[in-house]
């Protein structure tokens, strides 16, 4: 099914003004469903905050961390949220550079998802520290011992990669929003108008503004495209640079990047499907977009399945006993259920989308996307926890399972993410009005006179 406004089918916006009016509808009084969603998100966040308070009060002992598993749920969830943050920039930057038409309807919400997912991910290194008040040690500054950061450490690379990614994504997101906030400003009054006016920086759509704006937007997209590929590569090096069996692999960067895009696209489906129906965005975001997202998931699911297979092949072909042992144990040991859950969610469940009927069915899209989100969390759990729990010294082998405090913080992080997303979609243009206008034909009278 092609996009209605690309093919000119019935529900194409008739004019620039119609596009404005359709999107501005989200500013109307929120529905009960919206308040229920927002209340659940805030409740989840408060529960997470309570659990974190317990951890700060009593120390890391309340979590399940114990040698040799000193990287647990917090690092798993950090990688999960960073991964979620990848689809937005992929859709907004890479698909912009390749002039993909289907990105227009969904890119703004995906970008918002990216910014809020990275904002969520940024919490986890701090939570993982235990002594959260020493988080400033992350940053490169000469301290009183003159002991600077080790720039040869992948953890230091990660600080740079994630903070750069957050900064660039946030700026890219903001400059994309600016002309649309100006539309909201011109359709509101009083204090709200003043706030939108400030955020739009007085945008008036002059030729001077559009000229430099479009140049800058292109450069941002060109910067963001390699950045998105680099960020999860750097995250993967947090593991691959260590000699730990099951981690020390050169396939990690492409494997992690594919996984990140896979989970991110699934999260876009999970978030936008309900929003589309809740806010009546059907003329702009419809099944055609979701089908394309499902195709992205299918592609990346194939890459992931290949990567899972390659890991086993390398373990066998290298004849390294530690590698062979860890991969054998992952599939047959105490965490086998998590491994097979991951395989089912990431390799098997998405296969239903090879059927066009299934990838154009909202129920199938929502259910499979939710399964993928679960599967991708367990992928990181498998990689991180199983390799540490069965490290080189059998005397230290253990079974790690998160405590209720860790689960609480995980739930709280989801609440934090959904709260920001819900607040955003209700107060800002979550569908890119200006880009929708670019997609529809400009109003013409057929009198073009050109002397040049």
């Amino acid at each position: 099914m092609a996009s209605p406004y690309v093919t000119g089918e019935p529900n194409r916006p008739e004019s620039y003004g119609a596009a404005n009016r359709d999107i501005i509808r989200v500013l109307l009084k929120p529905t009960v469903a919206y308040f229920v969603g927002l209340s659940i998100a805030i409740a989840m966040l408060l529960w997470g905050a309570w659990c974190e308070y317990q951890q700060l009060t009593w120390g890391m002992g309340v979590s399940g961390y114990a040698p040799p598993v000193m990287w647990g749920v917090y690092i798993v969830t950090f990688v999960f949220w960073v991964g979620i943050g990848h689809a937005g920039t992929l859709i907004s930057a890479i698909l912009y550079l390749v002039r993909s038409r289907w990105r227009t309807g969904v890119y703004r919400a995906s970008e918002a998802m990216t910014v809020f997912a990275v904002l969520t991910a940024l919490l986890f290194p701090v939570l993982h520290l235990g002594r959260a008040w020493q988080a400033y040690w992350f940053f490169p500054y000469p301290n009183q011992r003159q002991l600077w950061m080790n720039f040869k450490s992948p953890l230091m690379w990660d600080v740079f990669a994630i903070s750069t990614y957050f900064t660039v994504s946030a700026i890219f997101f903001y400059i994309g929003l600016m002309p649309d906030i100006a539309i909201f400003r011109d359709h509101s009054r009083g204090l709200v108008k003043k706030v939108y006016g400030l955020l739009a920086l007085g945008w008036r759509g002059t030729n001077r503004q559009w000229h430099h704006y479009m140049a800058a937007y292109g450069f941002f997209a060109a910067f963001a495209a390699p950045l998105v590929l680099s960020v999860h590569s750097v995250v993967s090096w947090d593991f691959a640079m260590a000699p730990t069996a099951g981690w020390h692999s050169t396939i990690f960067p492409p494997y992690f990047v594919a996984g990140a895009i896979f989970s991110g696209c699934a999260m876009v489906i999970s978030l936008l499907l309900p929003m589309t129906y809740l806010f009546k965005w059907e003329p702009y975001v419809n099944i055609w977009h979701f089908e394309n997202l499902a195709k992205m998931c299918l592609l990346t699911s194939g890459i992931l399945t290949y990567a899972y297979g390659t890991e086993y092949f390398i373990a066998w072909y290298s004849q390294n006993p530690y590698e062979q042992a860890i991969f054998f144990w992952r599939a047959t040991g105490e965490y086998a259920w998590a491994f097979w859950l991951m395989v089912f969610c990431n390799c098997v469940a998405p296969l239903v989308w090879y059927s066009k009927k299934m990838r154009t069915n909202p129920v199938s899209l929502f259910v499979v996307a939710a399964i993928i989100n679960v599967g991708m969390w367990f992928e990181r759990f498998n990689i991180i926890v199983s390799s540490l729990a069965h490290n080189f010294d059998p005397a230290t082998w253990t079974y790690y399972w998160p405590t209720w405090i860790e689960w609480g913080v995980l739930i709280g992080s989801a609440g934090w993410f959904f709260m920001w997303f819900l607040l955003f979609v209700k107060t800002f243009p979550a569908v890119a009005i200006t880009e929708i206008k670019e997609m529809i034909a400009a109003p013409v009278k057929g009198h073009l006179e050109n002397s040049r």
Binding site: W148, F151, K152, A182, S188, L201, H211, H212, F219, H447
Partner: protein, 189 residues
């Protein structure tokens, strides 16, 4: 409607168009007649307007991008190598004190970060943002809706008649001068 801004030297003239081709006709005729000092407003970026106004001249924002990227690359190299040269005890894995391969990651990230920040700064400066105090004639809410405009904020009063006639004949739906160019409607949802 709030009070119009104090009169600028010269006269304000504004033409509002509902059609892109008519706007381009107006721009073309203004150029042929040799008038300068006008601005075009549009609800979204259109390459036709870009070509008519800038005739292929690129935006200088690209120089900000390049400069920022070079400064970022250099900063990344200096931060990592000088830090390690000052404290050479940190020597994991027998790597050289100044090891380009691991530092390349930091250099890459700094290139992107500084390049992006410089691009943002360049865009803000060249766009003239924040532009809260633009001429009142340019603060027309119809532009963010579906109208195009051509605005003179300081036209030569002697040319007022000629410009007005030219814009009217090009197909503008409304041509106003002086304080009539200020348009504000409380069209809240």
């Amino acid at each position: 409607m709030s009070a119009p801004a104090p009169a600028a030297p010269g006269v304000r003239i504004k033409a509002v168009y509902n059609h892109l081709d008519l706007l381009l006709t107006g721009v073309d005729r203004l150029k042929r007649a040799g008038f300068t000092g006008w601005q075009v407003q549009a609800p979204c970026p259109r390459h036709e307007i870009e070509e008519a106004v800038y005739e292929g001249r690129p935006s200088p924002v690209r120089w900000w991008t390049l400069t920022g990227a070079i400064v970022g690359l250099t900063t990344g190299f200096l931060l990592t190598s000088l830090t390690h040269a000052q404290w050479p005890m940190i020597n994991p894995g027998g790597k050289p004190t100044v090891a380009i391969v691991p530092f390349a990651v930091i250099m890459f990230e700094c290139t992107i970060l500084f390049g992006s920040l410089a691009t943002f700064l360049g865009m803000i400066l060249h766009c003239g943002l924040p532009s809260f105090f633009l001429d009142k004639a340019l603060q027309d809410p119809r532009v963010t809706d579906e109208s195009f405009t051509i605005v003179f904020t300081r036209a030569n009063p002697a040319d007022e008649g000629r410009i007005t006639e030219l814009l009217q004949k090009s197909g503008a739906v409304e041509v106003t001068t002086g304080d009539d160019t200020v348009y504000e409607v409380p069209n809240a949802v």
